[in-house]
């Protein structure tokens, strides 16, 4: 053993920043950590304890514990931070306690667990009279009970009554939750639309009480719940799951499981009506605002003659069977179908990838497609063209055995259908007839030459790049039949890509008595009318209206609206960023998923990562009118999605005349639109309020006006409560100015 005396550098803490290897880096960091930790511990052991130290008395210890749990008052928080910067021994205590706290139950959950045992109060009559239904109701698990709690009735009640119910629920929740609530980072996950309204109100209360960083998230899907938010939104935050009624606790368990995956700091449940006294094992603390005995439920056997209603958990309403929203697709079957379709198209994937034929949000022939495979790209590539030709040869062999066919296509689709027909004609040597005129999308009375050509051949093969809805085929077949096809003539159709679902295809073949042949099955969905395009037209119309010299809308109040419309219409968007080429199989899987599940899948993809551009492509005619999609958009409007995402949700809903979301609670949760002096994002609200004034009902306009007035008062009265007369004259702040602008738009 060496007796040498060690030099400084051998003992010194190692602070090297850039070791050469990972192992060396880890070792250096360990040594550095050990050195500082040891010095800190020495301070803990050797320094004098002062009256401010966290182990001086219970008051100081409690202050530390509350600080760690985000539950301390702002002034205490500041005092603790100052003390931490001055006292090394307390830094040690903080570090040791914080490490321990990260593995323990937080005060929020502890309080919920404690108060769960508290004496219950009777359910208020306003809830029981308005929200409790009678008569047999079948629940999603197949059990039937006499009556049910239907919080969805709130949407059908008078606004004042619904508001009172909301207030009763939120006051109760606030009273029960307040003692254990942290000071920042709270996420309220609300299952169903009525609970989302309650969640918004509760969040506004939290905000008024000084809690920072509050989010409200919409959840839906009873058997497979889904959170409609940025996946990072719940991470390391205090999550409260709000449900209307808990009976067996199955839904709450599934929601907890879903939330746990996002890594929250802590998790607890709040049920407005808690019927689960006997079955509380939901895995996390549960707070029931009111408790009652569990309903008596029996198994429903579908006995005929009885008038039962079926409970829809997302709407929180019971409906007659024929009004129940049907599932777009069973998710398990959908996944299997997608895998099968992908296997079928696998040989073509390399060509699709190399030619960039898979296109998202493509405009083809004046129609907008969420996803499309551009046949022109494939036909432009020699290897892809040969592959398609050889497949066409084998696919049409049975037809060719019957004799020659005449290839027919719509002249307006001469680019793709024409190229496709030419390729087939080359392979088989069949004649081609184009019907209609290429500059006209609709069929005209066919020309004489076209008529002659159609009557010549007994067999007609309608060809096109893809079939999506079957409308074109329908028209062409009608046209050919009118052209006096020989009585024994045959009509068939052949496509490169078949975008029909099985049921659609069956109906089409049966109705038209025409076989539909194709190379690949690819149900990517029908063409859509994107909401973005519609909004743009609306903005154009608004601007024309405001700029019209005959219009009286040239007052100052119209300036923000005008500015917003101009900005949106001039803004052509950022140039596309260079993004890495996506895997074509992944993209195609996504495209098929959207084709199968429609707007739901598109909204899911729009969340992760948040992309308002996908929202702009939602189908105006269907998706936005579907209740679930609208609920999701309402949900997006209230969480931590980026401002442009929120703006687009608001604009999308406003174009449909939906202004329900614009209330006092929403304004409170989005007050940064009004306070951020550097951002002009708030202008979209001016446009929305203008539309509301032009179209909305008078009571709706009054409601929004009152909401803005109350919001302005609640946000400014704190500083100027002593001088109420001076409020108008002395409120130069940004929030007040912007509220004033909105009120002017509404009042003009």
């Amino acid at each position: 053993m060496s007796n040498r005396r060690k030099t400084y550098h051998e003992h010194r803490p190692n602070f090297d920043d850039q070791p050469t290897t990972g192992a060396a880096k880890a070792a250096n960091q360990d040594r550095f950590a050990a050195s500082v930790a040891e010095i800190l511990e020495r301070h803990w052991l050797e320094d004098e304890r002062t009256s401010n130290c966290f182990d001086f008395n219970e008051t100081r210890a409690e202050a530390l514990l509350q600080f760690i749990a985000d539950a301390s008052e702002p002034e205490v928080t500041e005092e603790i931070r100052t003390h931490l910067s001055q006292c090394a021994r307390c830094r040690f205590i903080y570090a040791s306690t914080y490490e321990a706290a990260s593995h323990t139950t937080t005060p929020m959950c502890a309080h919920a667990a404690d108060s769960g045992e508290m004496q219950s109060e009777e359910i208020p009559s306003i809830l029981r009279e308005n929200l409790r239904s009678t008569g047999p109701v079948v629940f999603p698990d197949g059990e039937v009970a006499d009556g049910a709690w239907e919080f969805g009735r709130m949407t059908k009640l008078r606004e004042t009554v619904a508001d009172s119910i909301n207030a009763v629920i939120c006051d109760r929740a606030w009273d029960r939750l307040r003692p254990g609530l942290p000071r920042r980072g709270v996420v309220i996950v609300c299952f169903s639309q009525p609970m989302h309204k309650c969640g918004k109100r509760l969040a506004a209360k939290l905000d008024a009480a000084g809690t920072e960083d509050i989010h409200v998230v919409m959840a839906d899907g009873f058997f497979e719940p889904k959170l409609w938010c940025d996946p990072k939104e719940l991470h390391r935050r205090h999550v409260i799951v709000l449900v209307d009624v808990i009976h067996t606790g199955g839904l709450l368990r599934r929601l907890f499981e879903l939330c746990r995956k996002t890594g929250p700091h802590d998790l607890m449940g709040v049920a407005v009506i808690d019927q689960s006294v006997a079955a509380r094992n939901v895995g996390h603390p549960l707070l029931g605002l009111w408790q009652e005995k569990p309903e008596k439920r029996t198994r429903y056997h579908g006995s005929p003659g009885t008038h039962v209603r079926f409970f829809d958990p997302v709407a929180a309403l019971s409906l007659p069977q024929d009004e129940l929203p049907s599932e777009v697709a069973d998710s398990k079957n959908a996944r299997l179908t997608i895998e099968r379709l992908l296997t079928d198209i696998a040989p073509l994937l390399p060509y699709i990838e190399s030619t960039g034929a898979l296109k998202q949000d493509a405009e083809i022939g004046g129609a907008h497609y969420p996803w499309a495979i551009d046949l022109l790209c494939l036909l432009g590539d020699e290897r892809a063209r040969n592959e398609l030709a050889s497949r066409a040869l084998s696919a049409l062999e049975p037809l060719a055995a019957r004799g020659p066919w005449c290839l027919v296509y719509h002249a307006a689709r001469h680019q793709r259908a024409g190229a496709w027909a030419t390729l087939i004609a080359k392979v088989f040597g069949w004649p081609i007839v184009k019907v209609g005129h290429k500059s006209c999308a609709h069929f005209q009375p066919i020309e004489k030459a076209q008529h002659r050509a159609l009557t010549k051949s007994p067999r007609m093969l309608v060809v096109d790049a893809a079939i999506r809805t079957g409308k074109t085929l329908n028209s062409l077949v009608a046209l050919i039949r009118r052209a006096r096809l020989p009585a024994d003539g045959e009509i068939a159709s052949f496509y490169a890509f078949d975008g029909l679902f099985d049921e659609q295809r069956g109906d089409l073949q049966q109705n038209l008595r025409v076989d539909v042949h194709s190379l690949f099955r690819l149900p990517l969905g029908a063409p859509t009318e994107p909401v973005g395009r519609h909004c743009r037209q609306r903005l154009k119309g608004t601007l024309e209206e405001l700029d019209d010299p005959k219009s009286r809308e040239h007052a100052l109040w119209a300036d923000p609206v005008r500015a917003y419309c101009r900005k949106k219409l001039v803004q052509v968007g950022r140039p596309p960023r260079h993004t890495p080429k996506l895997n074509v199989e992944w993209s195609l899987r996504r495209a098929l998923d959207e084709g199968q599940r429609g707007s739901e899948a598109r909204l899911e993809h729009a969340c992760d990562p948040p992309r308002p551009s996908l929202l702009k492509q939602l189908d105006m005619s269907y998706a936005l009118r579907e209740p679930r999609t609208r609920n999701v958009l309402h949900g997006f409007l209230c969480n931590s999605m980026p401002p442009d995402f929120i703006e687009w949700c608001a604009i999308a809903l406003a174009t449909l005349g939906d202004y329900e979301w614009l209330d006092h609670d929403w304004l409170v949760l989005h007050k940064w639109f009004f306070t951020d002096s550097l951002s002009s994002r708030w202008l979209f609200l001016a446009c929305v309020t203008y539309w509301l004034r032009r179209e909305g009902r008078s009571e709706q306009v009054d409601r929004v006006r009152n909401a803005i007035v109350t919001f302005r008062q609640s946000q400014t009265s704190e500083q100027l409560a002593l001088f109420p007369d001076l409020i108008e004259a002395t409120l130069p702040d940004r929030l007040s100015e912007r509220c004033h602008a909105l009120l002017s738009v509404l009042s003009s």
Binding site: L84, S85, A100, T105
Partner: protein, 194 residues
């Protein structure tokens, strides 16, 4: 058992029990917290278990007198007991080091004494530099280095300082760089001599 400085706020004659500590759930929570906190302070399983047991015994004895937050009370007791145990452990170690030497252990002990001396000087030097951090780089820099050095997450450091995450990271990097370049902590030139 008593802990130095533990003066019950409520006279011991007060017979009213603490309602928050009624029931098995509260006691099992107390048991868990005591163990977790003790482990956090001592990072030694056996010593922490002893400390937690002592703290729980005290809690049991004083349950009727604790009318404030029992968790805060327990935290203070665990913290004080833990520091006392650690001090006792250090004292025991130094007693062992200064025990009469045998011929076999003497050479090693002599070298350890040297090493400890150098080590002590190094820590003092290092502490001196750490003490200058707030003045040089702004308030809370020392806190950032201390807490990060103890392996805390940035999130906890942000909470303790109230500064932005990026500010904390930047200050830590700069402070570390600065300490690294102090001449007295530089490696000796000319290599080591055996």
């Amino acid at each position: 058992m008593s802990v130095p400085g533990d003066n019950p706020a409520i006279p011991p004659s007060d017979p009213a029990p603490n309602p928050c500590l009624d029931g098995d759930a509260a006691w099992s929570e107390a048991d868990r917290l005591a163990h977790v906190w003790a482990r956090g302070f001592l990072r030694n399983k056996d010593l922490a278990a002893d400390t937690a047991q002592d703290a729980l015994l005290l809690l049991k004895k004083n349950a009727h007198n604790i009318h404030a937050n029992w968790k805060a009370w327990l935290h203070r007791v665990v913290s004080r007991l833990a520091s006392r145990k650690r001090r006792a452990e250090c004292a025991e170690k130094s007693r062992h080091d200064s025990a009469p030497d045998t011929l076999a252990t003497l050479p090693a002990k002599l070298s350890w004494a040297h090493e400890r001396m150098v080590e002590r000087e190094n820590w003092e030097e290092c502490s001196r530099f750490l003490d200058q951090l707030d003045l040089k780089f702004g308030l809370h820099t020392r806190t950032i280095v201390d807490l990060r050095g103890r392996g805390m997450r940035w999130e906890a450091i942000v909470k303790a300082t109230g500064l932005k995450d990026s500010t904390c990271r930047r200050r830590f990097r700069i402070a570390k760089e600065w300490i690294k370049k102090r001449p007295s902590l530089q490696p000796a030139k000319g290599g080591h001599h055996e």
